[in-house]
Amino acid sequence: MAAYIIRRVFAAVLLLLVVSAVTFAIFFLVPRLGGQTTDSLAAQYVGKGADPAAIAAIKANLGLEDPLYLQYWHFIKAIVVGAEYNFGPNPSVCNAPCFGYSFKTHVEVWPEIVQRIPVTFSLAIGAAVIWVISGVAIGVLSALKRGSIFDRLTMGVALAGVSLPMFFTGLVSLALFSFHWTIWENLEFVPFSENPGQWAWNLILPWCTLAFLYSALYARLTRAGMLETMGEDYIRTARAKGLKERKVVVKHGLRAALTPLVTIFGMDFALLLGGAVITERVFSFQGMGAYAIQGVTKSDLPIVMGVTLVAAFFIVFCNLLVDLVYAAIDPRVRLS
């Protein structure tokens, strides 16, 4: 098992390096191939005066004149050992992991990400709890009461949940509960450490809208999985042995139906940790997703690189976890 984990961790680091190289190439190399010069790149980071001296100073300070491979090397090196920058009277030290400074505002990227992680995590974890519990419960009940009104109604709502885009449900919920009934007026993120009650209260609306989308999907998947497993021979055998129905459903049926769900959950959850872009935007929460948008819209490359890498890290990490959990819940994986 230890060898397996080491191998997987090594592969994960390699994967992250590839992701960083590809992202770097997309944002630094492709524009150059499209004819963008270092001057025009630097000009985006000075005020509207675009004074040539300012452009030259920015180019020198951001190292835009260095060959690309060297710029990439500096970027990776800074993550591992940190770096030193000159944005003031004295050099400022950017400790590892240093993802550089925003080209626009010269604020360090990593502390900004760290500040935003609690927002994104709070959103993702709460929503995940809601959607897993509600999605799986609805899926199981629908499967067990196949064809009933409950089944049809929940599957109809689930279809709506899957079909309606997040920016629609988000805005509708805001319009209803925040602007019209003003239950959540001035919705904003309150850190858990500051006030746990307010934290949860202000997150209810984003959680529910986010969970609506996912639980719908999970309900449909669970239902399909349950229908399939409940028709298997071993379920009939279990019932024939005289096991209680609850045990048959939960231990034998649900457990088998859950395995594909765990994989999907790992991916979905990891993607959300990288930033629930639309949810954060709709509710004006300053998480990783909102930061990513800021980076992209303002062509602030270090922000884009930082968020992409951290998001990629979460995906790789969650996948690793899923594989381990998989081994725990599916004996076949363990045996092989």
Partner: protein, 586 residues
């Protein structure tokens, strides 16, 4: 049957939800209270609405993204210039007052306006005594000098702000800035003979000096507290408020600065106890917050979103809470005089007559968004004089006159050209489409090419090489003054010296010796009234050249929530509300 019932139940639920949304958000809650209801629409243009002298309360601002920087030495944004006066006192500033009075420059940190030498090249300001930073140390002329040095001469760290001081100060091109040049005397052309005197020695006559001194860049910065780009996180206040917290993503909270002494400050009332500023709030949410009186103002000052405007305008009670000021900006169509056939003035005149300006205004959303323009200088800028060299009936264009000009140009059947616009500015694209139709009517085929705003000047319209290579004869352009005088407005868009290989804003590539000279003469004229006359003259010269079609003076639709007190439009700050005056009953 069963499933049909289920489906219809879902449909009804959704329809109800949508219906509730549609009628829900517009309602606004007329909480009455503080008499906001008595003022009429546009009252904020000429008076202070909801005037109050009551101290206390919290003013809450929201912004849909964030500033370039709240550091007074690292910003170009109009709203930061306006807002920063709460924590930074520049040498002089615009008077916090209603209407045209708000365009007057008054002393702030200085005791009087600048005293200029007869050649307008040396300017001296005397500082008030006893003005203190938030840490209790007295502000001296050295702090002002340092602030200007760091903001204009250290682009490696603070690159956002304008660099007018660098252009106008003697030896400015050689000075390396305080971070690299550690010599004790710093820039020699800013002299500080004693603690309270500061003298600027300029390399050319410049009579608009007081407007430069009104930039937030002259707000003092103590050298020992300056950490370059990181100073924004610990700004040392010289005004009535100091920062309690600052986050790049969330915003800032300001509270009273106990070291601020009202006796040294004749222009600020500093009524609110607290000021909250929130960044990155979705634009539509900001509008909802304004309508429900949850916040005091949208600090960006560009007004309600297009989709919110009808909600407000159709109800008399809501409309009464709006102001529709000029935004100090002009949308115009630039014709590059180096691109054929616009090198011929008659072809340029053809476009002048062909464009349906009324149609353009309709296309962008009607009278609340803009007013058809005939001059380059907008009405809210000093030097504006009304004239129209190319009048057409109802501003709708005159195809007959346009065709006459085309014939005179030797292109009676018209020609093909390109028209550039910024893809992420919907109004500009709508205006371009309208212009395209007007031109088509006289035989000119304009192919619209769209580019992202952040690269528009660096890579496309502002790069003469690209313009020539791509035959981009027509370019959409919008411009707001850096300071509200004819010079502040025109210099960067019509002066030959503003043509740059990349990032230029003189899109017409105008390098007319007459215009250049008139600008130089004007800025050397110390008499304010005579200077104003000069700007009107330059304006006329530009339009005689016919290379720019003024389309419309931009207007914004601002909204005053009931709780907002002391509300007035600051023409000096692009027609947003005056944030020095603004207070709240909440």
């Amino acid at each position: 049957m069963n499933s049909r019932k289920t489906a219809s139940a879902i449909a009804v639920t959704l329809a109800l939800a949508l219906g509730a949304t549609a009628c829900g958000s517009g309602g606004g809650k007329d909480k009455g209270g503080n008499g906001g209801g008595s003022a009429k629409a546009d009252a904020g243009l000429s008076s202070i609405v909801n005037a109050s002298t009551k101290k206390g309360g919290t003013v809450t601002y929201e912004h849909s993204s964030g500033p370039d920087s709240l550091d007074p030495g690292n910003t170009y944004y109009g709203w930061v210039q306006n807002f920063s006066r709460l924590y930074g006192r520049s040498l002089v500033t615009f008077k916090p007052a209603a209407g045209k009075e708000g365009l007057t420059v008054v002393p702030d940190l200085a005791t009087s306006l600048g005293k200029g030498s007869p050649d307008a090249k040396t300017w001296t300001y005397e500082l008030r005594k006893g003005v203190k930073f938030q840490d209790g140390t007295e502000i001296t002329s050295a702090d002002v000098k340092y602030a200007i040095e760091r903001s204009n001469f250290a682009p490696e760290a603070l690159s956002n702000g304008p660099t007018y001081f660098k252009s106008y100060l003697e030896g400015g091109e050689k000075y390396k800035g305080p971070y690299k040049d550690k010599s004790p005397e710093g820039l020699k052309s800013i002299e500080t003979p004693d603690k309270y005197t500061i003298t600027f020695k300029l390399n050319k006559p410049f009579a608009d000096m007081d407007y430069l001194a009104a930039f937030s860049q002259t707000a003092p910065v103590p050298q020992k507290a300056d950490k370059g780009a990181e100073y924004v996180q610990n700004i040392v206040s010289s005004g009535p408020y100091k920062f309690d917290s600052y986050s790049e993503s969330r915003g800032a909270t300001l509270s009273r600065n106990p070291e601020w002494d009202p006796a040294t400050d004749p222009i600020r009332k500093a009524l609110p106890d607290k000021i909250e500023l929130k960044f990155n709030v979705t634009a539509s949410t900001i509008d909802e917050h304004l309508l429900s009186d949850a916040i005091t103002a949208d600090i960006g000052g560009t007004g309600l979103q297009s989709k919110t405007q009808p909600k407000v305008l159709v109800k008399a009670a809501e409309k009464a809470k709006t102001d529709n000021p000029y935004a100090g900006a002009l949308q115009y169509l630039a014709m590059n005089v180096k691109v054929k056939p616009f090198d011929n003035i008659e072809c340029r005149k053809a476009v002048q007559y062909a464009v349906d300006k009324a149609g353009v205004v309709d296309a962008i959303g009607g009278a609340v968004k803009g007013e058809p323009a005939s001059t380059m200088i907008p009405p809210s800028v000093a030097g504006y004089k009304k004239f129209d060299l190319y009048p057409t009936p109802g501003n709708k264009g005159d195809a007959a006159k346009a065709k006459e000009a085309l014939t005179a140009c030797g292109q009676p059947k018209g020609f093909k050209t390109s028209l550039t616009a910024r893809s992420d500015r919907p109004d500009e694209v709508l205006a371009a489409t309208q212009i395209q139709q007007s031109l088509k009517a006289i035989g000119i085929t304009a192919d619209i090419k769209q580019f992202p705003a952040d690269k528009y000047f660096t890579d496309f319209a502002g790069s003469p090489k690209w313009v020539h290579d791509n035959n981009a004869g027509l370019m959409m352009m919008a411009w707001g003054a850096d300071w509200p005088t004819g010079y502040g407005f025109l210099d960067q868009i019509v002066n030959g010296s503003a043509i740059k290989p990349s990032g230029g804003t003189n899109l017409m590539e105008l390098n007319d010796p007459k215009i250049n000279k008139a600008l130089t003469d004007g800025i050397g004229t110390l008499d304010t009234a005579a200077r104003g006359e000069k700007w009107a003259e330059v304006d006329k010269l530009v339009l005689e050249n016919a290379s720019a079609v003024p389309l419309f003076y931009r207007k914004n639709l601002l909204y005053r929530p009931d709780s907002a007190t002391n509300v007035t439009v600051a023409e000096s700050y692009l027609g947003m509300y005056d944030y020095v005056l603004m207070s709240s009953s909440k």
